[in-house]
Structure formats: structure tokens, C-alpha cells
């Protein structure tokens, strides 16, 4: 796959020119989640990408919702309409400036719910030689919306200090206010993607271009239902760490979903054996593509031995740990490219996943989930004997690290101890 295969000096990949993604949809339809996930993925591909959030821009200019006069968000309020329009224009212009200077893909995260507004945005972008693609999020399942409000919206700066139930009520009012004005996209001349109920159905209209189709490819795999990803390093083959599930691995109370835990391991013995205790009651999938970084001719050597046997290669490796390949070995970049399909499968997975793999693999996956630059990847530390719990949310992932107690010597019933909370 194309992940990070090459970069051009302009930073524009695939000869794709500049692209603007414009989100469309009522509040709490997952627009922000889609925006940030897409941004993270495109950056992983090496495409210079940035989210321009109208909500953040508005808060910067006017302060949080608490500072605003009541009825500010009411679309019937003509006074505030002008203010809101001006802010939207400013935010869009900021994105256009950034695209002209350095960026390739700008994501304009706003509701853009009327035909008139979309036409205006479309024409402005075309006049700057930027290709617009609209992504409309449609959701007719109240549970998904309610879930989104509770997990994302009421924790936004607009509702700091609010009683949660009041905040939810207030947010529903904001949504209802939009309802009468909302026009779904019907203009077939536009380039658009409609996502219905977080990825159940996707309609793609008039989308052209390599990078654009790649974006759709990603969106097909994306969902925003709550779930948890766990990382654990594979045990050393002669010193097994007995990792066993406990109550913490399968939290209840996420509402009406029916997630189970699936375990992914590489096809290597150490991972497969670490996953052994899960074989009863859980699905364990061995993925050959999740094999550790191939070290080629330095496999099994200590750092001192490498310095002695391959002094020049060692020097090169120290200079560029991400791209360097030892003789017959893979670079971290090779590994990242190899993991591209695993990443899309991880996005696609609706169940909770426990990934048991070698540290090198976990480093790459971690870098993807936490939007880390590639040169940092070789330096990321995934400690042994820890379970990392990762919860994806609209603005990014949150992690908690738990120590795994070695029950081989200490057969205590509690196996994972929660240590820190993000």
C-alpha cells in the first residue's frame, strides 16, 4: 500500500493538488470524529493535513457558549446570523491561506447545513484552485446521537461547569434548532460522500482523483462507535508472562452495544503462546502481517556486536532510525507500510481488540493512533509487563497503562492493576 511510500519536495502527494474536505450535518453526527480520524490517517500517509474547526474558531473569537447571549445559536436569530457567518468566513479563509502556503488537505469542520452555504464555500474554494469534497454525516439512530452528545459534546469547553443533564438538554435544543434549516445534499454536480449511520451505508457521488478515492477507502472502514483497543507485548519465549483477562478488559455500561473482545496476535510463537490463555471463550486471530520488524543480518546481535560487525551501517542507523535498513532487514518505514492493512482493519473492527505483538509492531500502531511523527516511531517505548488501554474519541485517543502481575511466580487472582488515568 501507499503509506508513506515517498514524499515529494512540495509535500503534495500523488500529484493530487490541494483538497478541501467540508463536513456537512447536524450537530452530534460525528463530524468532528470523522474529521480528526481522517486527518490522522492522511498524516500517516505523509499528506500534510489539518482540521479547521469552526467551533474552536468561534470559541477563540467570542469565548465559550457561556459568554454568549441566549439564543445565539438559534438560526432564526438574524443578529447573531451575521456574526456567525463572519466567523465561518474567517475560518474558511484561514484554511485557504494554510493550503496556499503549506498544506495539501484542509478539513473544514462545520455544519454547512444549507445548499446556499455549501454553494458559497464551493465557489470560494474553486476560485482558489482548491478541489472541494463534501462529507455529509447522516444519522437516524437516536442512540448514536445521544451517545455522541454524552461522550463528546458535554465535555467540550462550551459546557465547563455545567450539570451534565442540563448540558445534554441544551445540546438537544441546539440540534433541534438546526432541524428546520437542514438540507441534505442533492446537487449531483458536487463531489460528495454521504455516510449513513456511521459507515453502515456510504454514497459516493462524482468523486474523482486518487487521493479523494483513497479518502473514501478510509471512510468505508471508519466507524465511531465506542470501543477499546489494548496493547500488550508478546512474552519472551522462555519467560512466559501469563496474561489473562479480568473484569477490566470487558467494561460493561457502554449502552446498548454488544461488543466482545477479539485477540490479534502475530503468527510468531511468542505472540501465539501469550494469547493461549484466551483460546477458550475469545476469538484469536493470527495475522502474519503483524510479524516483528525483520532485523536481517543483525538479528540476535547485541548493540556492541552490531557496532563491531557493521560499523558503517550502525552510523547510518543512528542518523535515520526510521528509514534505515540493516543488510537483509526491514526499516521501520517498511514495517509501517506492511501494517497499513492492519491499521484499516483496526479502524474497521467494532469489537474491542487486544493486540499481542512484538514491541516494534506496537510502536508503529501506537504512532498511528496517537498521531506521532515518523521520526519518533523508533524511540517510542512500549514497556514489557504493561497492558495499554486505548480509548478512541472524537479528538484523539486516550490511554491508560496497567501493570500486569506475573502470575507465574505470584498466583494472585488480580492480574492487571490500573495505574494511571489519562
Amino acid at each position: 500500500m501507499a503509506a508513506q511510500l515517498y514524499k515529494t519536495s512540495s509535500g503534495h502527494l500523488f500529484h493530487a493538488g490541494r483538497i478541501a474536505i467540508i463536513t456537512v450535518g447536524l450537530p452530534a453526527r460525528g463530524k468532528t470524529h470523522v474529521s480528526h480520524s481522517l486527518c490522522r490517517y492522511l498524516r500517516w500517509l505523509g499528506v500534510s493535513t489539518k482540521v479547521f474547526s469552526l467551533g474552536n474558531h468561534r470559541r477563540q473569537v467570542l469565548g465559550t457558549a457561556a459568554n454568549l447571549p441566549p439564543g445565539f445559536f438559534s438560526l432564526e436569530n438574524r443578529e447573531s446570523a451575521q456574526v456567525r457567518h463572519n466567523i465561518a468566513v474567517e475560518c474558511l479563509n484561514e484554511m485557504i491561506e494554510w493550503l496556499k502556503e503549506e498544506g495539501q488537505v484542509g478539513i473544514f469542520d462545520a455544519s454547512n447545513t444549507t445548499e446556499e452555504r455549501r454553494k458559497e464555500v464551493h465557489d470560494t474554494l474553486i476560485s482558489h484552485d482548491i478541489q472541494p469534497v463534501f462529507i455529509e454525516s447522516i444519522c437516524d439512530k437516536p442512540t448514536i446521537i445521544e451517545n455522541n452528545i454524552r461522550s463528546v459534546k458535554i465535555t467540550s469547553p462550551d459546557y465547563i461547569g455545567w450539570d451534565p443533564e442540563e448540558a445534554v438538554k441544551d445540546y438537544w435544543a441546539r440540534i433541534n434548532n438546526h432541524l428546520g434549516f437542514y438540507q441534505t445534499i442533492t446537487d449531483l454536480s458536487l463531489s460528495f460522500v454521504k455516510m449513513i449511520n456511521v459507515g453502515d451505508r456510504i454514497i459516493v457521488n462524482n468523486v474523482k482523483g486518487y487521493l479523494q478515492s483513497r479518502i473514501v477507502f478510509y471512510l468505508i472502514n471508519l466507524h465511531i462507535s465506542p470501543r477499546i483497543i489494548y496493547f500488550a507485548r508478546a512474552g519472551e519465549s522462555n519467560n512466559e508472562i501469563s496474561l489473562k483477562t479480568d473484569a477490566d478488559l470487558c467494561p460493561a455500561g457502554w449502552g446498548d452495544d454488544e461488543r466482545t473482545l477479539t485477540i490479534w496476535t502475530s503468527a510468531r510463537q511468542s505472540s501465539v503462546q501469550t494469547a493461549k490463555p484466551f483460546e477458550e471463550g475469545y476469538t484469536v486471530i493470527n495475522r502474519a502481517l503483524m510479524a516483528e520488524l525483520n532485523l536481517g543480518e543483525v538479528d540476535g546481535l547485541t548493540v556492541e556486536e552490531i557496532k563491531e560487525k557493521f560499523p558503517e551501517e550502525y552510523e547510518l542507523q543512528q542518523k535515520d532510525m526510521y528509514h534505515h535498513r540493516y543488510p537483509m532487514a526491514e526499516s521501520y518505514q517498511d514495517l509501517a507500510v506492511r501494517l497499513e492493512s492492519t491499521i484499516l482493519e483496526l479502524e474497521h473492527e467494532k469489537n474491542d481488540v487486544l493486540i499481542i505483538a512484538h514491541e516494534t509492531v506496537l510502536k508503529c500502531l501506537y504512532a498511528y493512533l496517537f498521531d506521532r511523527p515518523e521520526d519518533e516511531i523508533p524511540r517510542i517505548v512500549i514497556p514489557r509487563n504493561y497492558l495499554i488501554e486505548i480509548i478512541p474519541s472524537a479528538y484523539g485517543c486516550h490511554e491508560t497503562r496497567m501493570e500486569i502481575v506475573d502470575t507465574f511466580n505470584n498466583p494472585a487472582p488480580i492480574l492487571a492493576t490500573r495505574l494511571t488515568s489519562a
Partner: protein
């Protein structure tokens, strides 16, 4: 790709909607990416069981004999498909038939479910009469069904056959099914309930296909200074003969294309850029088109490279120390292939190993033969995609060049020792 995934892509749509074309393309693409794939064409089973020359009344939904005969063909094809999954460890089967009724789709779905095969329906809808007519003329009239039959009569019969299917056609509306609907060759696409990465990958590929007529030209760069020295890799200039080739190229392309537009793709290396220098068309440089990276062997002659014989044992997978294998090259060429599918007239001025990979994609050649494909210097290869593959023409220029072809070594003679 997880090893235990089995996907059946089940085509849906009226006759002459490009189903077979799509089926063949998907098959070729996945095979090129080393994913085991096979097409099961129910029409072939029908011809085998009931003979080729069935007139349109055979396809009338009210003709009970015809109906059960066609279902028999479908069942045999399904049986073979399941057998293939089990015995040959297949990953993707493409079930090519009209499957235009709900009941037929339900039948296939239940059959596959029992065997733990995920079903993805691929429906092709076309409302453009001209396109349909074009397809009938290009593809259907040359099908075995109409061998030795007057074309006018054949066209008439085929239209009657379509009419029978139209009577009973139920487009997919079942929202619980996994499907992709391609409307008017991709101007709109509806994607429903995709299960897993492999399916999304197929959808992604389908979204990039088009069926407009076009030509693809391949040329290696002209003879280079390194060629004269017998060295591989590097970034050398063209030799005097290579420069003559560059000067001669535009005339040939012009004769072929007339005033049609063309875009020229080159690698970022001097020898391809210099070769395309005189071509009066827009040009793009692709890093991904750079020659296979020979790693530590870069700049050496084959005589200096000791590992040549090891490489010949598995040339497709052999990776030069610090460099690339053909398999690696295919991975980085995947975006180029995807972009090539989307474009119209394209000329690629490239390198031997890279053009071998591209050529193998268009002609569906197996990986073990790929590193031995002949792509001579000072020769233009013109490919014209058709429904069932590519037509090819080669234009050899009368400008001498070194021969860089290294044949496959004869197989080891161990077996004969016992004789």
C-alpha cells in the same frame, strides 16, 4: 490479509452492463497483489450443460425448463467455487452471473453462509443506452453463444434476452446485504455494510475503474551510459544512441494518437526525463516509477555481483542487500496502477523492472515469469484495454542498443543424475 478470510463477490445486473469486465479486472488486480482469486462464470457452465446456441426464449422467466436449467448451471458453479475455496485455499471468488432476482441472491447467500464465505454483491447499473449498445457490439456478439450467427440477428436476439431479464429484474434494496452499486460506470457509487478490509479494498479499486477507450504506451528510457558500461542502477545520462531514440519518439506517438491528448509519466531519474524531453505533452515525474533499488549492487556490473545465481533461484522475491525485490516494487507501484486505471491516454517512460511489473498487471502474467518478461530497449509497446484483456502492438525503432535481457537459467539438472 488474514489467512482465513473467504470472500465471494457476486455480480448483479442485467446483461451487457459490464459485469464480466468488472469480474475480470478485479481478478487480475487481486492476483497481481498475490491474493488468490478466481472467476466462476455461470454462462460457461450453462453452455457446457445445455449447449451454446440457446435462443432468447431459453431466458424467458416463464420458461420453466430454461429456468431450472439455468439454476442447475448456477448450482454447479457454486459447488466448484466452494471446492476451490477448500482445496486450493482460495481467498476471493468472483461469481459472474446476472443474479438479478432477490430469490437467487438469497439462495447464493444461504449457500455461502453454510460454508463460512462472506458474500459481497457487486451491482452494475447503467442507464446510458449508447453504452449498453456499445457493449453488445463489442463483447456479446463475439461470444460463443452467437458463433456463426448473423450479427444483426444476434443483436436482435440479445436484446430480446435482455428484455426477459428486465421483466424479472429486482435491483438490490436489501439493506442487510453487503453490496456495492456502481451507477453509470462510477458516477455514483453506493456502498452498504462492508465487512472487513479486503472487501473495502475491492470497493476502492472498483471506484477507480472506467471503460472509456484509451491507449497506454510503455517505453523504456533510451540506451544509457551505464548500459554501455554494463552497469546496473545509477542515475546516468543517455548514450548518443539513446538520445537519437528520444528524438525519434514524438513522431511515432503523433502517428498513433493524432490530436488526442496524452500525459507522459516518467520516473525522477535523468534517463527517463531525457528520453521524454522532446515529447510535446504534459509530463509528470513519479518517484514510485524509479527503477528497482539495487541497494549495495547499484553501479556494479552483473559480473561484479556475486549473488546473481542466488537471485535467479527466486528472482521475484529476491531483495538486493539494502535494496528492493520485484515484490517490493509491486507494492510501491500499486498507487501508480490505481491512477493509471483512472486516467485515459498515458505514456510511461520507465525502467526495465518497473515496466515488467506494470506489463504483468495488464496481461495477467504469473509472478514467477514476471522478472523474465522481454521489454527491449528502443521499442514502444502500445496496450489497448478491451473487455477480456489488452491488445498489444510493438514498435521497434531502427536504432541499435545493447541487449540487457538476461534469460532465466535452465532448471537444475539434479534429477538426471539418477537416470
Amino acid at each position: 490479509m488474514s489467512s482465513n478470510t473467504r470472500v465471494a463477490c457476486v455480480m448483479v445486473g442485467l446483461p451487457a452492463r459490464g459485469k464480466t469486465y468488472i469480474a475480470q479486472k478485479v481478478c487480475r488486480y487481486l492476483q497481481w497483489l498475490s491474493i488468490s482469486t478466481k472467476v466462476f462464470n455461470v454462462g460457461n457452465y450453462r453452455r457446457k450443460l445445455h449447449g451454446a446456441h440457446q435462443m432468447h426464449s431459453f431466458f424467458d422467466p416463464n420458461n420453466k425448463t430454461g429456468e431450472s436449467a439455468r439454476k442447475q448451471a448456477a448450482t454447479e458453479a457454486l459447488n466448484d467455487m466452494v471446492k476451490w475455496f477448500k482445496e486450493e485455499n482460495g481467498t476471493v471468488a468472483i461469481f459472474d452471473a446476472t443474479n438479478s432476482t432477490r430469490s437467487r441472491r438469497e439462495f447464493i447467500l444461504n449457500y455461502c453462509r453454510k460454508e463460512d464465505i462472506l458474500v459481497m454483491f457487486i451491482e452494475s447499473i447503467c442507464q446510458d443506452e449508447n453504452l449498453i449498445l456499445q457493449n453488445i457490439v463489442d463483447v456479446k456478439l463475439s461470444s460463443p453463444d452467437y458463433k456463426n450467427i448473423d450479427p444483426e440477428k444476434a443483436a436482435e436476439d440479445f436484446r430480446a434476452r435482455i428484455a426477459h431479464y428486465e421483466q424479472a429484474y429486482e435491483p438490490i434494496t436489501e439493506s442487510h446485504l453487503t453490496f456495492i452499486k456502481i451507477i453509470n460506470v462510477g458516477s455514483q457509487v453506493v456502498i452498504n455494510m462492508i465487512q472487513g478490509y479486503l472487501q473495502s479494498r475491492i470497493v476502492y479499486y472498483l471506484m477507480n475503474l472506467h471503460i472509456l477507450p484509451r491507449s497506454i504506451f510503455f517505453s523504456r528510457h533510451g540506451e544509457s551510459m551505464y548500459h554501455l558500461m554494463g552497469k546496473i542502477g545509477g542515475d546516468s545520462d543517455l548514450s548518443p544512441r539513446g538520445k537519437r531514440y528520444a528524438l525519434a519518439l514524438p513522431k511515432l506517438i503523433k502517428e498513433n494518437l493524432g490530436d488526442q491528448p496524452l500525459t507522459v509519466w516518467t520516473s525522477t531519474m535523468k534517463r527517463t526525463i531525457q528520453t521524454s524531453e522532446h515529447l510535446p505533452y504534459p509530463k509528470l515525474q513519479w518517484k514510485a516509477l524509479d527503477e528497482i533499488d539495487a541497494g549495495c549492487c547499484d553501479g556494479k556490473t552483473y559480473e561484479e555481483i556475486e549473488e546473481t545465481s542466488i537471485r535467479d533461484q527466486d528472482k521475484f522475491n529476491y531483495r538486493y542487500r539494502g535494496g528492493e525485490s520485484y515484490r517490493d516494487a509491486i507494492n510501491r507501484l500499486e498507487p501508480v496502477i490505481m491512477e493509471l486505471e483512472r486516467q485515459q491516454n498515458i505514456m510511461i517512460v520507465g525502467h526495465q523492472a518497473i515496466l515488467r511489473c506494470m506489463y504483468a498487471y495488464f496481461h495477467n502474467l504469473p509472478h514467477e515469469d514476471l522478472p523474465y518478461i522481454r521489454i527491449p530497449l528502443h521499442t514502444v509497446i502500445k496496450l489497448t484495454p478491451k473487455a477480456y484483456g489488452c491488445e498489444e502492438e510493438r514498435y521497434r525503432f531502427d536504432i541499435d542498443a545493447v541487449d540487457t535481457y538476461r534469460p532465466r537459467p535452465p532448471p537444475k539438472q539434479n534429477a538426471q543424475q539418477t537416470a
